[in-house]
């Protein structure tokens, strides 16, 4: 019986599209959108808040299925 370590197969999934990084980007988008929605400074920021938040939320749902 050999005691060699099992060889890890290298994943073909690109490094830039790993779950950790992508989830962080999506989280940042949601947080920015949320702040834009409730900030009292500029109406234009409020106008674009929903689309920012929606993009972040959809991205989060998708990238949370990506491999780690």
């Amino acid at each position: 019986m050999s005691m060699t370590n099992p060889v890890k197969r290298k994943s073909r999934w690109p490094a830039w599209a790993r779950r950790g990084l992508m989830e962080n980007i999506a989280t940042a988008l949601i947080a920015i959108g949320f702040l834009m929605l409730f900030q009292p400074f500029a109406l234009s920021l409020y106008t674009y808040s929903f689309i920012t938040m929606l993009a972040g939320t959809v991205m989060f749902i998708i990238v949370s299925k990506f491999p780690e």
Partner: protein
Amino acid sequence: MLNRTAENVARATPEPLARKVRGISDKGLAWLFISPTILLLLAINIFPLFWAIYLSFTNFRANRPNEVVKNLGFANYQRILGDQDIWIAMQTTAHFVFWTILLQTLIGFTLAWLIDRKFRGHAFWTTLILVPMMLSPAVVGNFWRFLYEPQIGLFSYVISFVSGIPPTSIQMLSNVSLAPWSIIIVDTWMWTPYVMLICLAGLRSIPEYIYEAAEVDRASNWRQFWSITLPMALPFIMLAVLFRGIENFKMFDMVNLLTGGGPGSTTEVASITLKRQAFESWRTGYSSAFAIILFVAVFGLANIYVKALNKVKQR
């Protein structure tokens, strides 16, 4: 013994039913059991959500069901996201959510920490503190309206007794600067016990031997609090903040009963604006779009929060 019981049950099953059941696999049986719940969820949660999404793109009015429904595309969303009044309602909501969560977490955790000391009669005090949470919001709203009365209210009397200001000049519900705080006080009074209960569960889950080890190492009480109590109770505190945050974004009953959004529109939170658009102006499509915007905001925030909670738990 077990086999014999199973055989007896199988023998007692009526033949037509037994014939039907025999053909179903374990997986099929599991689906059979959960399908009523799934159907109920689809009917009362999923379908209304998709229906609201559909309505948000139309000019549908619930008071004119026979009128031709026109597709407006993203016009409702554009109107809401360019409306200054709704923008102000969002800021009012943020103000309420921030202060209620801050006060409820601070007071709730402090109460939980004190109750966890297990002093004489702590069970009685726990029950007494939990009473406001068990009351109906309608009862609490009416009850506090009386307490806030400038002429006969106990609240005004106590403030006047402490500060020397005449009670008639303490107009909690009709003063522009005091009205938002009157709602924050009531919400904090009602829901702090809930936060306390969750924090208490967190504090009770910390094993005693960790404190014993800290005492062996001569850690001070202050050090034990910052290095053991707070980090180990943090997931529970975060959970309480998440639950209260989601609830307070939808805060409607308390505001409606106490001020109805007034004076002027100083306490008009997003849910009050939504109700006015949906059931006073009867702009169902428009209010559906508004509801979807609020839903995405809360859903997105909950996603971030669950991610943060998992990170804290993994530490």
